[in-house]
Each structure stands twice: as C-alpha cells, then as structure tokens.
Symmetry: C3
Subunit: 359 residues, 3 copies
Amino acid sequence: MFLKNVWYVAAFDHEFDQPFVARRLLDVPVVMFRAGDGTLAALEDLCPHRLLPLSCGKRVEDQMQCGYHGMRFDAQGRCTDVPGQGNIPAAAHVRSFPLVLRHGLAWIWMGAPELADAALIPDLHLNDDPGWAASRGYHHIQADYRLLNDNLLDLSHETYVHQHTIGNEEEESIANYPVEVSVTDDSLVRVHREMPDIDPPPFFKMILQHDGAINRWQSAVHLAPCINITVVGIHPIGTDRTSAALGHAQHLLTPETTDSTHYFWSFVRNYRVDDPALSDTLGEAIRRTFDEDKAILEIQQRQARALNRPLPAVAIKLDEGPIRARRLLERRLQAESENPARIVPPPELVPKHSYALAD
Amino acid sequence: MFLKNVWYVAAFDHEFDQPFVARRLLDVPVVMFRAGDGTLAALEDLCPHRLLPLSCGKRVEDQMQCGYHGMRFDAQGRCTDVPGQGNIPAAAHVRSFPLVLRHGLAWIWMGAPELADAALIPDLHLNDDPGWAASRGYHHIQADYRLLNDNLLDLSHETYVHQHTIGNEEEESIANYPVEVSVTDDSLVRVHREMPDIDPPPFFKMILQHDGAINRWQSAVHLAPCINITVVGIHPIGTDRTSAALGHAQHLLTPETTDSTHYFWSFVRNYRVDDPALSDTLGEAIRRTFDEDKAILEIQQRQARALNRPLPAVAIKLDEGPIRARRLLERRLQAESENPARIVPPPELVPKHSYALAD
Amino acid sequence: MFLKNVWYVAAFDHEFDQPFVARRLLDVPVVMFRAGDGTLAALEDLCPHRLLPLSCGKRVEDQMQCGYHGMRFDAQGRCTDVPGQGNIPAAAHVRSFPLVLRHGLAWIWMGAPELADAALIPDLHLNDDPGWAASRGYHHIQADYRLLNDNLLDLSHETYVHQHTIGNEEEESIANYPVEVSVTDDSLVRVHREMPDIDPPPFFKMILQHDGAINRWQSAVHLAPCINITVVGIHPIGTDRTSAALGHAQHLLTPETTDSTHYFWSFVRNYRVDDPALSDTLGEAIRRTFDEDKAILEIQQRQARALNRPLPAVAIKLDEGPIRARRLLERRLQAESENPARIVPPPELVPKHSYALAD
C-alpha cells in the first residue's frame, strides 16, 4: 500500500547532529547517520544475528555496532567484524538505502536502489532560500497517511477544527468560497480557492500593517503519495498581486506504518524574513494548530479501523479534492505493481509567485 | 446477545444539565441531549461523512455539529446543513432512538422504534416518591452484565466480598439462611431470604434506634435482562412487619459492550427521609461496597474470557437464582430472535410493603 | 513447549513467610503456601466454581478460601466447605502439585505427580553450604526462557551488554578467548573458556588483594531445560588452582508463559563468606547487571515475535553453545512427547573445585 519509487522525507538535516537517528519508515525499521565525510547512510535497523535493532547498540566511527554481541556494519550494510571469529558469514549483512540531503531534509529511497535518482526529489527549495524564512517542526500521528492527505486537501475543516487557533468565524466559513480542483501529470492535485475583498483577520492585519480589505487565496497542493503544501497569499486591495505576502505550509508526510505517519512540517514565508522572533511565534502557533488535527485524525483512524468502511462514507462537495487524490494514488499503486520500475518525475509543485499571476 | 425490545437506563436525569452526554450502549455509540423544549434526543454518535463521533463536535441549539467539517444533525438524526453546498445528500442522516425521562432516569429503546411504548418502562417510582429518600451513583464495570446479574442474585457473597464494608461475620454467614427462589411471568426471578430473630449489626441498631433482636429479610429481585433490586427490611421483634424500615438498592445495568457494563445505582429508603447527611453517608458506603464488587467482577471477566468456560463451572446450591435467571434470559433471547416484534411487559417488581405481608 | 518431568524453581524459601505466594508457572496459575507443619502446598490458583483465582481470597489455617463465595480447599486441593450446603459437589476440587523445599528453594513438579521424585532435584547445595556465602534476587523477564538460555550460554555478550557494569574493555573482549563446548548425558551443555595470565580488573584485584597477573576461567553450565550456572574462578599466577576464588552465578529460570520467564538468581562465593556487606554489594551489582540483560532480552522477544524467524537468524561461532542447547531441548521435548513417563536424572552440574583440576 506504499508507493516505492519516490523519495520520502526521512529526517530534518539537524537531526544528524546526533550519532544516529532510528525511525520506522514504510514499515521498515531504519537507522540513519551522517558519516565522517558528510554523506548520509541508512541501514535496515536489524542485526541479522539475533534480530536486535542496531540502534540498541552504538555508533563506532562510520559503523553501527550491535549492542548484544558487537557485530559491526558499515554504511553499505556490510558486516565488518564478528567478535570471536576471523571470517564473516555470507548472510551477515543488512539492507542499505539511498539517503540524500536536499533543501534541509534527508530524503530516502525505499524502492529498488538502482532506480534512485536524486533528480526525482521534489523541489522544496524555499526551505533554504535566503529570501524566505522557515519555522519547522514534527508531529507523530497515529493515523494512515491518506487520512492526512484528505485533511490537507479540504481546508474547510479550519473553521471547525481550528476555531481556537487559525479558524475564522463560522459566518465567514471557508467552505462558502468555491474551489477549483485540478489534477496534473498523474502526480498533482490542486484545490484552489480565491477569497477576494475580505476583512483581514488580526494576524493578517499585523503582517500587512494594513487595516482595509484584502484579497486572499489559498491553495492545497498535493504531490502523490504524501507531500502537501498549503499556499496562502494576501495583499491589500489595489496593490499588485505579485507583491503579496506569501506563506507555504509544507506538510511532508512519510508513512511510519499502515496506521501511523511521520509529519515533518515547515512553514516558509516571504515577509519579515529577518525576524526570528516571528519565526518562533509562527512555529508555536502551527504546532498548536497541528495538535488539533492530530486529535481529530487519531480519532478518525480508530473509527475507520473499528468500522472498516471506506472513506468518505458519505461524500460531500468538499471531498472532490480528497477523492481525486485517492483515485490518483490508487492508479499509481496499480501502475507500480504492474511495472515495478515505473518512475513518475514530480512536476513543479507551485507556480511562480504562488498563483499571484493566475488569471 | 442483547435483548432489543426493552427499555434500558441510558443516563441519570441530572446528566442532561451538560450540553450532551455520549455513551456506548449495547455496543452502539450514542450521543444524547435535552432539547430546548425539554424533550430528550438520542442519536447514533457517528458522523456519516468521515465517521467522527458527533460528540467530538459541539451542540448548536437543538442540533449536534460535527467537529471536523461542520455538518449538523437534528434531534431526529436528519442532516440540516452541509457547509459548502446547498443540498443535503440522501445518505446524510444518523439513527435516532426513543429516549424518555421517567423516575429520574433517561430510558432508551434500542429495538425497532415503532415498538417503543413508554408504558413498558419498569416501575421504579420510589426514585422520586416524596416518602422515600435516594442516594445515587454510577460504576463502570469491565465485565459482561450477566456476571453482574449472577452477583446480585446470590447475596451470600456479601460475607466474603464485603467483609470490610457491609459483610457480617462468617459465623453468621448469609449463606446459612435458606432461600426461596421464584420465577414469574417470563420476566422476573426473585431470591428471598428470611433472617428472623437476629442480633442487629451496628448500622441497623442505629437506624432502628433499637438494641434488641430484630427480624430481617432480603430479596434479590431480577427483571430480565438487567434490572436488579435488592430489598432489605428490618423491624424489632414484636413490632408489626408493615412498619419495617425498608431499603431498596436499585442496580440498573445497561450493557456497554459484550464485556463491559454501565452500572447506575440508586438506594432508596423509607426512613429518615429528611436527613440528607444520611443520604450522603449511605451513598458513600454503597460506593465503596460496589468498588469491591467491581474488583471481583473484573477479575472474573478476565478469567472467563481467558478460559472460555461456561459459568458457573461447578454449580453450588446458591447458584439456583443465577442459573434460573440465565436460563430465562436465554429463552427471551431465543424468543426475540424468532419473533423480532415480541414484547414482554414488565410485571410489578416488588410487592407492596416489600414482602412485609408475605405469608 | 515445556518439559514436564523436571523440577522447576517456584519460589525462594523466604517467600513463604507470607500467607501465600501466587505465581504463574508453565502457563498454569499456582498458589503456594507453607502449612502449619512446615510442609509446602501448591494448588492450581483457580476456584472451580466461578473461576476466581484462589489468591484473590485468603489463607485460613492450612486452606485457601475463595474471596467470592467462601469455598475452601485444603493442601491436596480437596474442597472442604461450600457455604450454604452440607455436601461437597464431586467436581469441586483443584489440582495440586508436589512442592519441595531444598537448597533454600521451593521446587515444583508440574508433570504427572506419581513421577515426582525429590532425588531428581538438581544439586544446588552451595546455596546453603556454610563454606559459601550467597546473594540472591529475582527478575521478571518478558521473554521466552530459551532466549535467556541463549544469553547465558554465550557470555561474550558481557563486553557489549554489560560495558557499564561487569564488562571489560572491547580490546580484551571475552570473545577473543576460544571456548570448549561439551554436551553430557542428554542433559548438560558446558561452554568453558580459559583466560590465562591476564591483568585483573579492579574488582578481582580487590577480591584477591593482589595486583599482578592472574589466571581466570569461566564456564557456562546449562542443565536442560532452564537451569544455568556461570562459574568464575580466579587465582594469582603461581598459586595452586585449587586455592582459587570461586563464584557461581546460579540462573534459575522457570517459564511463566511462553513469552515470559521467572528469573531467580543466587550468586554464591567461597571467599570473604563472613562479609555480609560484600554480599549486599555483589547482590546490587548483579541486579544492575541483569537489568541490562532484561532490557536486551525483552527487545529481542518483541522482535522475535514480530518477525517470526528462528534464532539465531544468522549463526556465528559463539552460537555453538546456544545451538547445541536448543537441539538438546528439542530432543528432550520430542522424547517426552513420545514417552510421557520419561525421566532424565540430572548429572552433577559442576565438577568438584569448579574445573580447578581440569587438565
């Protein structure tokens, strides 16, 4: 149920300041570290001798040493030492995985290694673009990643789930603004919503230093199987759209198991980029907002497991984006199962200026 | 394994001071509230859209609003609003259940709604009879409700389970007094025990303001499937039986799941009815007593699950009441499965004066 | 998967200062007590009436009384009293098990009682030999007892698991000293290792009051199915081997379930036997050491369950002892299943002087 031939986010770059990082990814236990030469290594986190996770042992130079009997494995998963004997048993090796650092993130390839091509990593360059500032964090969600995709492709939930954080009043419900749903290249689903000439909520007033009416737009961008970006643009009425204040909430999901998801997130903005206090404030506000999603998603996961019904059980208009993304994913999974070498290069995720120039 | 065509206790009346009450009943999640006009409403606690419990949302006037996308449902379970669209999908409704307030209790009917007839609610009028005073409480028991019936139909366990609360000394074991077991009308099992001319325990002395010998009787009254009343009468020897001090412990059980039970209880008495401090003292004593039952019952449930043997595994004389009640329940379940419209009106539970005039 | 016709350690003698001891052994719940005449009794911990553990009741003289309805059972498992009736139902009895005190330990026989012969109890007399001192303790391990046998038959794990307690430096890894593995009498596996002319670690210096080089040896002795003794001997070079300081770590395992193990342990020594402070210090050091094993073993158990692969998944040289012990156990289980009356008397576990005189 997982697409194999895509790059998944495995960690933030700063996590490699630790000796190693252990994390289950696509239901495979993985231990990762940064070698002395700066390259990243990822091994199956399982000693082939007595099945102990290598992460229960320790890092010794550029190798992992098992904590039970001291067998060592190098960055390629080759056993280099078996205490008590000179030769190495042929079966004493572990899987290794391509792991590449890009845009402040470590990307892992869990499919056939010979298909791994770093050019296929999605373009998230705003993460380390000097013209943008980032707030980052992580949530562990005890829910199928597809429930998170559903959530992120129907932003009308803001009004109800996030009423204590970013939600607006119900009278101005996001659901009242129609959406345009588009599917691109067997890869992307976009749900775009224009909210012209609205009274700005306090936070937007503060950002724009402006009290009058604004134009706002909001796009949910989904790259199968589990990269999502929420693009929000605002500008005062009468100003040019290319001058808009833009924020991209990057929701970088990686399945941990069929029932749980790693949720790496990064909010990047093009305004007040030299204000680290604002980065902290935004990071904290987003953390609390995603806590609200986590609560809903984990309840939904338990319900879906217990009741075993397809979702949505009853479809409404706002499900168009989520449903099209689920269908796209089903097609991709089917296609990959028929052709295990099938590769789908990711297209550009967000148009230049984040739809600022859209007609 | 649950009888459908009976009224079950779903809540105490005072619980409806809250916006809503959510509770699993007969393995169905239910959310209940008191509408503005004072009537009670009960809905399946499950949004048909994405399966979130409606109780994770909020009450809006006389409707429940889902906490994820804001769909609203009225007291009859009809969807009245889907944010983002004008029409309501045909499948967007939830089950509703008849819910009626009587005797200080909310009674729910989980069978076919057209069979619901409030005249079938068992007579527990002493709960709000001005000549009687009540102490009430609730226990959640992680055990099959039939284990609770067994427990309440063999009161000899008092000596062993309740030795630190209401139990008497083993030398005067309740088991030493013979019982009379009777079955009435395909509905009732009564286990009656006379304990004449006994030395009163301290509590009874205090109640009667009397030091000498007393007559005592004790009846376990069981209305299938899970209403139980323990009737206790005491009076000094030489006084008339109709003048007895009477207490009825009402054990109002409702299955939560096959393995757990809601235990609503009310102890009503005909003495010192204007003494609220005594009501509190009695309520606290009963709470501690039922804590002891809870401990035993939950162990027994785990054992019964793990060992998967019918109960009692070895029968003793005192099992007569429990066994007859289990057989009666089996007959009722069988009859209802053969005739899903079968109704058995409950007979009078406790004779006038609580057996005071029994021959 | 458990051998039946052997004596298992059920408790330490001092535990019988309590009214009773309840413990699951070979997946059977057992309640044990010391009767007034000093003999030990062991009963299946399960009231035949309503399946409550007898240990939820209380000890009344030399009987267990059920905590629900007061039925009593004597040391032979016969029911002696059913409250409320004069006769005893024929089915009202529980299993009893032979339980014998020897060497400071209570030994239980879970096989056919007529085969129980106290002469078959393994010789652990050093536990109460006046020339030796003992430090004792208990660990509960959530792991299959065979994983503990594996652990104790390959002591090279000391270097890695116990680096913070008894482990030496990796440069002097125990694995570097070759072992001699022997199997005796369908019962015993011994893994012996000589470590001649080594620089003593600080603890050994303190014991011997000697700074120079020493000879050391280490034997892992395994009696199927789950008695293990680690024998350690040290003496200064140039002194006679029979004068060695000896320590025996007795690891007395008894399966609780297929996935968990009671680990009774006793460390006996022939040096400074009149120093109770040293006994305490050693006991505490061993407790912390076995805490480290517990952590590893419980992880390994979870991995083995989740992955369902035979162990070792890849064999190394140091697995010779563990593998031979597993094969021996398989043969014994097979033989006992073919001949349920088969008895294998345990041979002498440790040669006199603990191999001090071995060639």
